[in-house]
């Protein structure tokens, strides 16, 4: 059951990810990206990280992608015109893609020990309580630094917006 669900959502994620690049219209790409985020959330859920899954949907699929689509709607961006592929792309595209995939497969093979497979639902630290506890004890410093970073980003956004107004 877990394996079937994993295969279904992994395939959806990969197909949507390819679709993001293939589509010419920004809205279609954005919708495909939502598909990627959603299937990733399901994969997290299968592993037992329910809080991360919910956060993935709320933050990425919900908030970030809504803003993306909002901006695309606001700018009323049209479909991009396809130019002919350059000589370099035609010549090197497929070999480079194969090389990248080979490299990835090589590292996965080397880095992960043999014979140990992923156990679905094996991760027990995924509840909201344990994530919260980890954030406020073990990872307190990174957490606070990240908050500061976001605060700086907000201030920067305000400064930039004010400059536009004046």
């Amino acid at each position: 059951m877990d394996l079937i669900l994993f295969l279904i959502f992994a395939i959806i994620a990969v197909v949507s990810a390819v679709n993001v690049v293939v589509q010419t219209h920004p809205i279609s790409s954005a919708v495909s990206l939502i598909g990627v985020m959603g299937s990733l959330a399901v994969l997290y859920l299968l592993l037992g990280a329910e809080f991360i899954a919910a956060a993935q949907v709320i933050v990425y699929a919900g908030a970030v992608m809504v803003l993306f689509i909002f901006v695309i709607l606001l700018l009323n961006a049209g479909a991009e015109t396809k130019r002919g592929r350059s000589f370099m792309v035609q010549l090197l595209g497929v070999p480079l893609l194969i090389a990248l995939l080979g490299l990835l497969a090589f590292f996965v093979e080397r880095l992960f020990p043999r014979g140990v497979s992923v156990r679905f639902g094996g991760f027990t630290g995924g509840t909201a309580q344990s994530v919260g506890k980890a954030l406020f004890t073990t990872y307190l410093l990174p957490f606070e630094v990240t908050s500061l970073l976001i605060l700086i980003a907000i201030l920067g956004a305000i400064v930039l917006a004010r400059k536009e107004l004046d």
């Binding site: 809205i27 919708v31 809080f51 919910a54 919900g62 908030a63 809504v66 689509i69 909002f70 709607l73």
Partner: protein
Amino acid sequence: MDAFVVISLIKAAVIAFVLLTAVAYLQWVERKVIAHIQLRMGPYRVGPHGLLQPLADVIKLITKEDMMPSYVNKPIYLLAPFLAVSMSLLSIAVIPFGPTISVAGYQTGMQLADLNIGVLYILAVSSMGVYGVALAGWASNNKYALLGGLRSSAQMISYEIPMALAIASPLLISNTLSLKELVATQSGSVLDWNVLHRPFPQIIAFLIFLIAGFAETNRVPFDLPEAENELVAGFHTEYSSMKFASFFMAEYLNMVTVSSLATLLFLGGWEAPWPAAKGSNLIPSVIFLVAGLTALYHAAHPARQMDKYTLAAFGIVFLALAGVFVLPIVQSWLLPLFWFCAKAGAILFAFMWVRGTLPRFRYDQLMSFAWKFLFPVAMLNLLVTSFLVAWF
């Protein structure tokens, strides 16, 4: 495993059937309530007191010609209503309508799935509901639809923040994310409901949640995405037949979700206002008894010749219900269901009441209200709540 699957399928079928019927009749109730607010009669022709009007509406919507303009973006135009209605149906799956009961020897909760992140799940699904509206507006390739879609996505993003902050404060008091345990922490009397719970009554959070809920469901006074006098019908201008009906259903389903969530988070879910030992289990019977007697009295009244049979029939149905509620066998599951429906129904009535009384906001008022008033107040409320919870 097998019993679980069978029970879940039965529960899903029952909940889907009851919910869709309720949504159809909610629309009838809304038309009646607004009609009476405006001193009209409302639907009256189809069936007694217009009771078959929802059926007539459904038949009309199904048989209408399904037009698709030639200039729309076809895949996304078709995806949008499906997305809207499926997201609003999904969020119902985690709402508990009552406690765990035993049916024919099996223990089962009166909800489809008891997630330990139920509240987050509803937030996640409702944040996905924006896409239905935004994409419908864009894919219609129509300026009114696009403006409606833009307005609605901006509005939903803005009001999601005070809503999430308002949800967070009762969660601090209850210390759980599971909707079922949330109700368990509020059991007892009305003083244990989160809206009045120590150490800090969440009445402000409750009001903020309701206001944000009105905005999230695009209801009056926040119905700018479909403001008729500016935008024709907003994001669903180009939709007809069942696709239009999907948006309509999604709106009413979202109303049901918001009122159920408000009931669970703030009003103690299916718990009675005071313990059954002090007679709260007799309240439903008394209410139905009074309703039945009133209906019978009006049926016998000579001035109401037209309603001689319909009101009598209603009176008898209400009296029968009053009798059912005192039966000890059904009390274990019927009483929680009654209290849940009564609380959620009261909030749904408030939705209609507001629609009948308040005018629409202007767009800039809507935005400044969310960012300059609701957001700081919700933040402050959360801060005070967390300090008091940490203190006591």
